[in-house]
């Protein structure tokens, strides 16, 4: 469950101020797959940063699972991310020196969990995303689609309550992109995960339950996907 109330985010660029988010209020119930669309500069990345506890709002509040995160100190934000959130990025952001399974295990290892305890789960997740037998491959030995699958497995390992995806298909061809979206959809439905996905691609947005459109830092549209289609 995500609750955003009147969130404002102001960036300073030299002498001028940019209101990246200008009083956004949004509520995402548990298990909903929310797609966010908007042109460049609409504020969608800023919103994802706030929901992902990567940043805090200038004013307003952001509650995830009832926890107000806008006032948390940095290290608490780190722990919150580690324990409650999963991320998928456009550029996969895998560590090049780690193998597939190690990349998946990374959040657990950061939490200080024992590798041998977590590894069977990591293997199971990799198997689920279709990477059985490719556990020890490094990112440079994987295709774009495969890298994004590793990223999905990594996002799911910590059993987060919210999954955040930033243009997860932006760097993939349309066939692979559709495959990756299907994976995200399936995996999150099984787990009753709340998903917030930012995308440019209208077809990608259709995968979700609900579509919010942003422009100039405000919500300009909020509809169920069937309506949008």
């Amino acid at each position: 469950m995500i609750d955003v109330v009147d969130a404002v985010k102001v960036y300073r660029r030299g002498a001028s101020e940019v209101r990246a988010l200008d009083g956004v209020s949004l509520s995402v119930p548990k298990g909903q797959f929310l797609s966010v669309m908007g042109s460049s500069g609409s504020g969608k990345s800023t919103m994802l940063n706030l929901l992902g506890a990567l940043d805090v709002p200038t004013s307003g509040s952001v509650r995830i699972d009832g926890r107000e995160i806008s006032k948390l100190p940095d290290d608490d934000l780190s722990r919150f991310r580690r324990e409650r959130l999963g991320f998928i990025f456009q550029f996969f952001n895998l560590l090049p020196t780690l193998s597939a399974i190690e990349n998946v295990l990374l959040p657990a290892l950061l939490s200080g969990k024992a590798r041998d305890v977590e590894e069977p789960r990591a293997r199971a997740l990799l198997e689920q995303v279709g990477l059985k037998g490719r556990w020890h491959h490094r990112p440079d030995e994987l295709s774009g689609g495969e890298m994004q699958r590793v990223a999905i497995a990594r996002a799911l390992l910590g059993e987060p309550s919210v999954l955040l995806a930033d243009e997860p298909t932006g760097n993939l061809d349309s066939k692979t992109g559709a495959e990756v979206l299907r994976l995200i959809r399936e995996a999150t439905r099984q787990r009753q995960l709340t998903v917030v996905m930012v995308t440019h691609d209208p077809r990608a947005a259709e995968v979700g339950d609900r579509l919010v459109r942003l422009a100039d830092g405000r919500v300009v549209g909020d509809e169920t996907v069937r309506q949008a289609a």
């Binding site: 940063n49 780190s78 722990r79 991310r81 580690r82 952001n93 090049p96 290892l109 200080g112």
Partner: protein, 854 residues
């Protein structure tokens, strides 16, 4: 090009002010060390020369004998030689100053009437020209003109008294007037006194002798025929030469001292070059897209190369501009550190006399700039190979320089290693200039540097485990990152390893030498007490004592034997050898000299002219048992035959041991530099020492050292000769740490996105901090280990090749385990500390900005 430099390079340099400052600072320190050392070398040489040159004045030819001088009558013989216009005799005495240990006064005994043709003296409070009529001055044996510098240093004014140590004991002298510091009064670091020659002969118990006769030649005749005439008239016991040719062997003499200094400053410069290389390579890696854009916009390969070359030249020039004046400070600071040692071993030098000449300034700037340019060559070539298309690529793999086994650095590295040993076989082209040994050291250092990326690439696995245990996942990731950009990581690792290696090298050499010297003293001269005047160790600084002291010492209760040792420096086969005269019956019975060749000559053999020589003299002049060599003595040239070669560490120039009775007869010198006293009851040593001090302490400026104290003193002397070299290794290690900061700052920039990702998936600041701190500690560990390995090899080469070629001494090599352990610890701790700042910067990156970073 100017526009490119201004818009692209300068902005880049200003954008990373810390990194630019670190690099400039590195070059400055390297240049300062180099300039400082060359100014020290210059002033040590100048100190040697000034005593020869300034004292020689306007002489065309000078005649010198041995350290005991030659009879006055020789002056008349010289005057009567055709072509000689004027001749003046001089007596010179180096007299220790009572009450200020280590300090001596250079006293010249002259005849003002004759001397005026050669030298001019300027009085401060007295007209020197009128001294010829000054009966008080001429008729007293204690009146002396002293330099203003000496007077000032001792708070003396005209009419006041000071004390000098002579062979007959401490004597009072009266300041008759002050001399301005010019001409001959600048000799010996300006610590000069002038007496009437007859007064000096009397005061210092030298008899009616001169040490030098200066000759002015009739220009119509020319100096060559006059030299020939003088040589044939005076016979072979004298050196008749142009004054300037006498300084020629000075280089040979100080070369072993300079060996350590030159090595140290070269290493500091080398590490400085590493730092520039580091900065420029990082800059190339980070600016690949920028370079690609420039190329896409039409910049040629050549202009990219020039751009990076110019950038390095700029850094080098700025570094040199700071480094050169700083070098003077370094030189002055360092010389005051070593001046005691230099004075004890060779000649007196003053810190104030260290000056920067045009050569040092030009050399410093040239090396700073050219070194930087040289360092930039490879990165500049790499930069020019960047393709324009790279400008369009996102996420260009920055810093991930792949290491190929089959690449030119590997081949070159292996090749250099292979050439290292053959290089040591190159014979020294000049006396004790071990070019081959130096080359070998350079090959080993460069070979290790070139091969280090290959080594580092394979270290992630062995380091991952310990990293994980010590630092958790951060340690594991650090091990990966460490091996990820081996080419870049190799630079700080190599720089650190060079610093560590050279510290270990010096420790190995000094330690091996000290150990051998200590064994030598313990075994060869096991006397219970050593009695010297004015200096703790007999050599350049002490004042010889009268022979009669020995007779008295022998009558002391519990004294079982006394060896009378004279340490007499004289030129033999072009080396400033110490002729040691002693009593073989005491020396051989009490001590156990280590004989390397032959047998110690019997009394009969000694009477036939057989002597014992030191191994270093034998090696340097290719002498073995049965070889003969001449020594000029006051009684003519005598030829000696080598009877035995032994281990002896008295002088790096070599020693010849002659039985005292033969020495006294032939050198007409019965003084004693050091009495070696053997006590029959060990429990009475302290009592005997006290009685000697009571009896002679007031008369002489006496030192009575026990065997242990003498050994300590010798160890200190060796240790302090390398003090400056040590300091330079510390500088090298500090420079290497700057390199580590530099590299890690660059790594933070390169991996900003990655840090953002780690933070996004839940890493907190401590994780990131540990990640970079761990990487820094790995750099320290590998640099330290590599340094220890390379240091063991280079230390061996320095001891067994360079040392043997430079000094002729071949002592056993001992690896300095303690220093190695210390340096390893220092390398790890210091590197980790150096990594803290970059680590802090990394941990404080804003997550959102880091993720968006390109």
């Amino acid at each position: 090009m100017g526009a490119l430099l201004r818009f692209v390079s300068l902005r880049h340099l200003f954008d990373g002010p810390l990194r630019t400052a670190l690099t400039i600072c590195g070059v400055a320190v390297g240049v300062a060390t180099l300039v400082g050392i060359s100014s020290i070398n210059r002033s040590v040489m100048a100190a040697f020369r000034s005593t020869i040159d300034t004292v020689a004045g306007k002489a065309d030819v000078s005649i010198a004998g041995t350290a005991t001088g030659f009879p006055e009558a020789l002056l008349e013989q010289a005057r009567a030689t055709p072509g000689v216009q004027h001749a003046a005799g001089t007596l010179t005495v180096v007299a220790p100053v009572k009450g200020s240990p280590g300090e001596s006064l250079y006293v010249m005994g002259i005849d003002f009437l004759d001397d005026g043709y050669f030298r001019s003296y300027e009085g401060v409070d007295r007209d020197v020209g009128k001294l010829n009529d000054d009966l008080e001055f001429l008729n007293s044996t204690d009146r002396m003109l002293v330099s203003e510098r000496f007077a000032k240093a001792h708070g003396l004014r005209t009419g006041q008294t000071f004390q000098l140590v002579t062979k007959d004991g401490v004597k009072d002298f009266v300041v008759h007037g002050l001399l301005k510091e010019s001409g001959p009064v600048t000799a010996f670091g300006g610590s000069v006194g002038v007496m009437y020659f007859a007064s000096a002969q009397e005061a210092f118990g030298r008899g009616r002798v001169f040490d030098r006769v200066d000759v002015k030649v009739d220009p119509a005749v020319g100096w060559e025929p006059v030299v020939g005439a003088l040589r044939s008239r005076l016979g072979p016991g004298f050196e008749v030469d142009r004054p300037d040719s006498r300084g020629a062997s000075v280089e040979t003499m100080v070369r072993s001292f300079q060996l350590g200094l030159n090595l140290g400053s070269a290493v500091a410069l080398l590490v400085g070059v590493f730092l520039v290389y580091n900065t420029v390579s990082i800059s190339v890696l980070q600016r690949r897209r920028e370079i690609g854009t420039l190329r896409a916009l039409g910049a040629t390969k050549a202009s990219i190369r020039s751009l990076f070359g110019l950038e390095a030249v700029l850094l080098g020039a700025l570094g040199s501009a700071i480094g050169v004046p700083f070098g003077l400070v370094v030189g002055r600071g360092a010389i005051s550190w070593v001046s005691d040692t230099v004075s004890q071993l060779y000649v007196r030098v003053n810190p104030q006399d260290v000056e920067l000449g045009a050569v040092e300034v030009a050399g410093g700037v040239a090396l700073g700039v050219l070194g930087s340019l040289f360092a930039a060559l490879r990165p500049a070539v790499i930069a020019s190979s960047v393709q324009p298309v790279e400008a369009l690529r996102r996420d260009v793999a920055v810093g991930a320089g792949a290491v190929q086994v089959r690449s030119w650095p590997t081949f070159l590295g292996v090749g250099l290693f292979a050439l290292a040993w053959p290089a040591t076989l190159i014979p020294p082209p000049v006396e004790n200039l071990p070019i081959g040994g130096y080359l070998c050291i350079f090959f080993v250092l460069m070979g290790a540097t070139l091969l280090s990326p290959l080594l580092l690439r394979h270290l992630n696995r062995p380091l991952a485990g310990p990293g994980q245990v010590l630092w958790g996942i951060s340690g594991r990731l650090a091990a990966d990152n460490f091996a990820r950009a081996p080419v870049r990581t190799a630079v700080p690792v190599s720089a650190l390893s060079v610093g560590v290696a050279m510290s270990i090298t010096i420790a190995a050499f000094v330690g091996s030498f000290q150990r051998s010297a200590e064994d030598w003293i313990r075994q060869s001269i096991p006397a219970d007490l050593f009695v010297t005047s004015s200096a703790k160790v007999a050599g350049v600084q002490n004042q010889p004592m009268a022979d009669a002291v020995g007779d008295e010492l022998e009558r002391f209760e519990h004294v079982s034997a006394v060896d009378r040792v004279r340490v007499f420096p004289t030129d033999v086969l072009g080396l400033r050898v110490y002729v040691i005269s002693l009593i073989p019956e005491v020396y051989e019975r009490r001590g156990r000299p280590t004989v390397l060749e032959g047998t110690l000559p019997s009394p009969e053999a000694r009477a036939r002219g057989l002597v014992t020589i030191s191994e270093n003299f034998a090696r340097r002049r290719n002498l073995s048992v049965g070889s003969t060599f001449p020594i000029i003595t006051p009684t003519g040239v005598h030829t000696w035959t080598v009877g035995a070669v032994i281990v002896d560490y008295t002088s790096d120039q070599g020693t010849v041991i002659i039985e005292r009775q033969h020495f006294v007869r032939q050198f007409k010198d019965d003084q004693v530099d050091s009495y070696h006293v053997y006590v029959d009851d060990p429990s009475k040593i302290e009592a005997v020492r006290q009685r000697i001090t009571e009896r002679f302490g007031k008369v002489f400026d006496l030192y009575v050292l026990s065997n242990v104290e003498l050994r300590d003193e010798a160890m200190n002397l060796v240790g302090s000769a390398f003090k400056v070299t040590w300091a330079m290794e510390v500088v090298a290690v500090l420079l290497a740490l700057l390199g580590i900061i530099n590299t890690l700052l660059a790594a933070v920039l390169d991996r900003t996105r990655e840090i953002g990702l780690l933070r996004a998936v839940g890493a907190d600041r401590a994780h990131v901090l540990k990640l970079f701190a761990a990487e820094a500690s790995f750099i320290g560990l590998t640099g330290g280990l590599m340094g220890v390995g390379v240091g063991a090899v280079v230390g061996y080469v320095l001891t067994k090749v360079v040392g043997v070629q430079a000094t002729g001494w071949n002592f056993p090599y001992h690896f300095p385990f303690e220093t190695a352990a210390q340096m390893l610890l220092v390398a790890i701790v210091a590197s980790t500390l150096a990594g803290l700042y970059p680590a802090r910067r990394a941990s404080r990156l804003d997550v959102v900005e880091a993720l968006a970073y390109e």
